[in-house]
Amino acid sequence: MNFIEWIKQPWPWYVAGPLIGLTVPLFLLLGNKSFGISSSLRHVCAACLPAKIPFFSYDWKKEVWNLFFVAGVLLGGVAVALFLSAPAPVVVDERLATELQQYGITNFESLVPTDVFSWPQLFTARGIVMMIGGGFLVGFGTRYAGGCTSGHAIMGLSNLQWPSLVATISFMAGGFIMANLILPYILKL
């Protein structure tokens, strides 16, 4: 298998994880910036609709690097879609596949299941709860927690900050509660 074919396959965790970890020193060295992503959502608020709210009244241009970064992340997605995508469907654990079948989720062609996340689904109860409701919880929760997976679980833990460990454990607890206890009811909608 040549190199191009090889990188088109899904990358194992022991390749992706260390590369993601190296983002921490990269950003510190590039310009004394602590790595994180969810703050970009706040900078958009500060730039577009600060509405005199003290929390959004700061010089967002000082953090514009973060908006460049997330724009890059989006372009990275485009780059994979254009040049590096694997033709095979996503491999899904059998137990999960069986469970999802009950809810009519059978298309595993893309990383984001189109049976739930697609424009037509946006006009169904399940679509509204999952896309709009879920997004709201992500934006509200990350800011309330002061960071997301990148800021707390990677940057914060890298700096051995115990509040980031508390946040990471809370993320996981929330995720376990949702996926196992609440999501089955939402998926039935």
Binding site: W13, L41, G135, G141
Partner: protein
Amino acid sequence: MSTQVKDTIQNINTDFEVRSQNAICVNQSELNRPLWSNWKYLVAGIGFGIILVKSEVVSWFRIQEMFRLQSFHMYGVIGSAAVIGIISVFLIKKLKVKSFEGEEIKLEPKKFSKGQIYGGLIFGLGWAVTGACPGPLFAQIGTAATVVLVTLLSAIAGTWVYGKFRTKLPH
């Protein structure tokens, strides 16, 4: 001193405090750089986005497997990323490495607040629904899952609502 000058001084003095409220990823640099100099963060973002998509961290299925303990993948990714991060930060501190722009590298420890628990739980609930934390939201849109733009806008709205009611919430 004119009021305008006073205002400017006050802004300078408190801006960093406001910016670093409830945030990990803060620009600690005191240098003023032109807008175009941010191209390197765009390039870093492209690399990061490619990694997120190719490792399927942006996949809703991988997130479901993680929260059902059906796959080690996500634990491996986050765990090994944290280990590499810990070693890197340790070395930067130990060797007093300076940034490429010659600045001393600063890392301000975050204080504990109850928000990390309440907000963390709320974010966790959302993460298991959308199958995406904020980074993957951007990457998913790039992979042509354009409807995720709606999820992203909703996340921005969530952030705004938090900011609006911040003082009324327990911290």
